[in-house]
Amino acid sequence: MTAVLTRPVEAPAVHRRKNATSIVVLIVAGVYFLVPLAAAIWFTVQDKVHGGVTGEYYTSIPRAEGFAGALRRSLSLAVLSVLGVLLVTVPAMLAVTLRLPRLRPLVEGLSLLPLVIPPIALVAGVRDMLALGPDQLAGTPFGDALVSSQDPELPIILVVVYIVLATPFAYRSLDAGIRAVDARTLVDAARGLGSSWFDVVWRVLLPNLRGAVLGAAFLTLGLVLGEYTIAGILLFETLPTWLVKISGANGQLSVSVSTASLLFTWLLLLVVSLADRRPTSRSER
C-alpha cells in the first residue's frame, strides 16, 4: 500500500531533478558555445573610430583583396571533393554491404588510416611526390599531371588530398545510415519483387541513404572549407589561408569573415537536417 502511495509522489520529483540537470547542462553548453561567438560578433560590429556599432566590416568583405578568389577556390575545391568522396565511398560501401561482406573489416581499416596519419606527415609525402613532377618524372604523362594538378587557380592536388582526408567521415556517415535501415532485407525484398541490381541501388538503397549521403557530403564540405594545414604548407590560397594572411593586417575583417563563414556552415547543416527529415505526407501519385 505504501508503495502505491509513494510512487506518484516520487515520480515527479525524479522528473523535476532530471529536468533541472538537463537545463543546467544546456546552459553550460550554451554559454560555452555562444559567449565566444557573441564576443566575436561584438568585436566585428564595434566602430573603433567613431564609437557605436557598424556593419562596415561585413559589407567590406566582398571587396577585400583576394577574398573573392579564395572563396571561389574553396567552394570549387569543396564541391569537387564532395563529389570525389561520394564517388569513392558510396560504391565501396554498397559493394561491401551487398556482395563482399568479408571485405568489410579491410575497408573499415583503410577508411580509418587518414585519421591515424597526421596531416603534416601526409602533406610532407605529397610535397615530395609533387617535386617529382618537374624533376625525375618530367615529360611523362604522370609528371605532367603532377605539374598541372598544382594550378594555383584550382589546385586539383588539394581535391585528391581532401578526398583522402574526408573518407573516414564519409564512411562513418554512410555506415551509420546503412545500419539504420535493414539493408540486407530491403535488398532481398526488392530482388524478390523483380528488381534488377540497378533498381535495387537506385530505387531502394540510395533513397533510404539520402540522409547519410547528405551527412557525408556536409562533413566533407565542412572539412574542406576549414582545412588550413595542407593548403598552407603547399602555398595555395584558400579561404582559411587567406583568413590567416589578413588577420595580421585587419583583425576585425578577418574575424567578421570567420563569423560569416560559421553562419554559412550552420545554414548548410540546417539544410541537411531538414532534407533528412522523413516525409510525413506525400501524394500517392
Partner: protein
C-alpha cells in the same frame, strides 16, 4: 492463373563445415500451404531462401510447375516473399510499397494504383495507403508486406516467420487472415516458422525438419497422432518420457502394462524410453498408489496434472476436467499408459534440444 506445384529435390547447401541442407526433398502440391517447422539451425530458412533464389543450392534441383528454376536469379522467379520484419521500403508509402513490384515490371501508373488499393483492401488496410511504414504498427506493416508480395501475382508465396515479431494477439489474428487469403487465392505457399502452434493451425501439411532434411511431412493430425519418428513426436506437442523395457516380441513394458510398439520407433530390445502424450495417460485416485500429484493446472475442458512417479520421474497427465475434479496436489494416485501402441526411442536418445512453447 492456376496454381503451380513446387518440387525441391536433393537440395544440398553447406556454409563452411555446416550442412544447412543435407539432401532435402520437398514437394508442395499446387495451391497447398506447407509449413516448415523445426528447431533453429535445422535449415528451414535456408530451404526457403533456396526456393526464393537468395541462396544457391550446392546440389539438387528446384522446379516450379514444369520449369526448372534452379539457376534462375531471384528477380526472375516471380515469388512473393514476406520477411520477419522491417522489410517495407521506408521511403515509400504503403500504397507505393505494394505497387513496387508492378513498377519495376513497367505496369502503368493507373493500373498500379488500382491494384495497390485493391490489395490493401484485401489485407484490411484500405485506408492506410498514404501512410509511411514508420506510421504503421508491426501488424499493419506485415499486412502491407503481404499485400506487396501478392501484388505481383506470384507463382509461389514465401513466408519467412512473418509473425514472429508480433504480439501474441495480433499474431493469431494475422495468422488466420493469411490462411483465409491464401485459400481464397489458391496460391501455393511455403511458410517457415519455429512456432508449432502456428504451423499446425494454418498448414495443409507440416514438414518437420532436422539437421537439413525432412523428418516427416504430413497433415497436422497425422503429425500429432502418428509421428514418424521419436524426434517428431517429441518436437510436436508434449510428450512424456517414461522408462520401459522392450521385449523381443515387439511389446514394451511400461508402468506395469504391456503395450504394442508403434511404427517409427527406433530402439533395440532392452531399456528404452517410451513416449506417451499426456492425454494418452490414465490416472486413478488410489490410497495405495505409488505416484504423487504435484501440480494441478486447470485448462478449461482439460485439467493437467503433474505427477511424480514412484521412481522419481515426473509425468504430465491430461484428464477431462470433470474426471480430475476430485484430485488435488498431494493425493496419491496410480498412473498408467492407455490402450494403443506407443512410440519407443533408445534410452540414450536426447530430447529435441529446443522445444518452442
Amino acid at each position: 492463373m492456376s496454381a503451380l506445384g513446387v518440387r525441391m529435390l536433393g537440395i544440398r547447401r553447406s556454409f563452411g563445415a555446416v550442412h544447412a541442407l543435407d539432401g532435402l526433398d520437398l514437394v508442395i502440391e499446387p495451391g497447398e500451404l506447407v509449413a516448415l517447422l523445426g528447431p533453429s539451425g535445422c535449415g528451414k530458412t535456408t530451404a526457403l531462401r533456396v526456393l526464393a533464389g537468395f541462396e544457391t543450392a550446392d546440389a539438387g534441383t528446384v522446379r516450379v510447375g514444369d520449369r526448372d528454376i534452379t539457376g534462375l536469379a531471384p528477380n526472375k522467379r516471380d515469388m512473393g516473399m514476406v520477411f520477419q520484419a522491417f522489410s517495407l521500403f521506408p521511403n515509400l508509402t504503403a500504397a507505393d510499397n505494394v505497387a513496387f513490384g508492378l513498377r519495376v515490371r513497367g505496369v502503368d501508373g493507373a493500373a498500379r494504383r488500382k491494384r495497390a488499393a485493391d490489395l490493401l483492401e484485401l489485407v484490411g488496410l484500405g485506408q492506410a495507403g498514404r501512410r509511411y511504414p514508420h506510421q504503421l504498427s508491426g501488424g499493419q506493416q506485415q499486412r502491407v508486406a503481404l499485400a506487396r508480395a501478392l501484388a505481383i501475382e506470384p507463382r509461389v508465396l514465401l513466408l519467412d516467420e512473418p509473425l514472429s515479431a508480433l504480439d501474441a494477439q495480433v499474431r493469431v489474428q494475422l495468422r488466420d487472415e493469411i490462411r483465409r487469403i491464401q485459400q481464397r487465392l489458391g496460391i501455393t505457399t511455403l511458410f517457415v516458422t519455429h512456432d508449432q502452434g502456428e504451423a499446425l493451425s494454418v498448414a495443409d501439411r507440416v514438414g518437420v525438419m532436422r539437421a537439413g532434411s525432412l523428418e516427416q511431412l504430413a497433415d497436422p493430425d497425422t503429425l500429432y497422432h502418428r509421428p514418424a519418428t521419436p524426434f517428431v513426436g517429441e518436437f510436436v506437442g508434449t510428450m512424456n518420457r517414461l522408462p520401459g523395457v522392450l521385449g523381443a516380441d515387439g511389446m514394451v513394458r511400461v508402468l506395469g502394462a504391456d503395450r504394442r510398439v508403434a511404427e517409427g520407433s527406433d530402439a533395440a530390445p532392452g531399456d528404452v524410453v517410451v513416449l506417451v502424450r499426456p492425454e494418452a495417460m490414465t490416472l486413478t485416485a488410489s490410497d495405495g498408489g505409488t505416484a504423487l500429484v504435484v501440480v494441478r493446472t486447470f485448462h478449461g475442458a482439460l485439467t493437467r496434472l503433474s505427477v511424480r512417479l514412484g521412481d522419481g520421474d515426473e509425468a504430465l497427465v491430461d484428464l477431462p476436467s470433470p474426471a480430475a475434479a476430485g484430485i488435488r496436489p498431494g493425493d496419491t494416485v496410480t498412473v498408467g499408459v492407455g490402450e494403443g501402441s506407443v512410440l519407443v526411442a533408445a534410452a540414450d536418445a536426447a530430447a529435441p534440444a529446443l522445444r518452442p512453447v
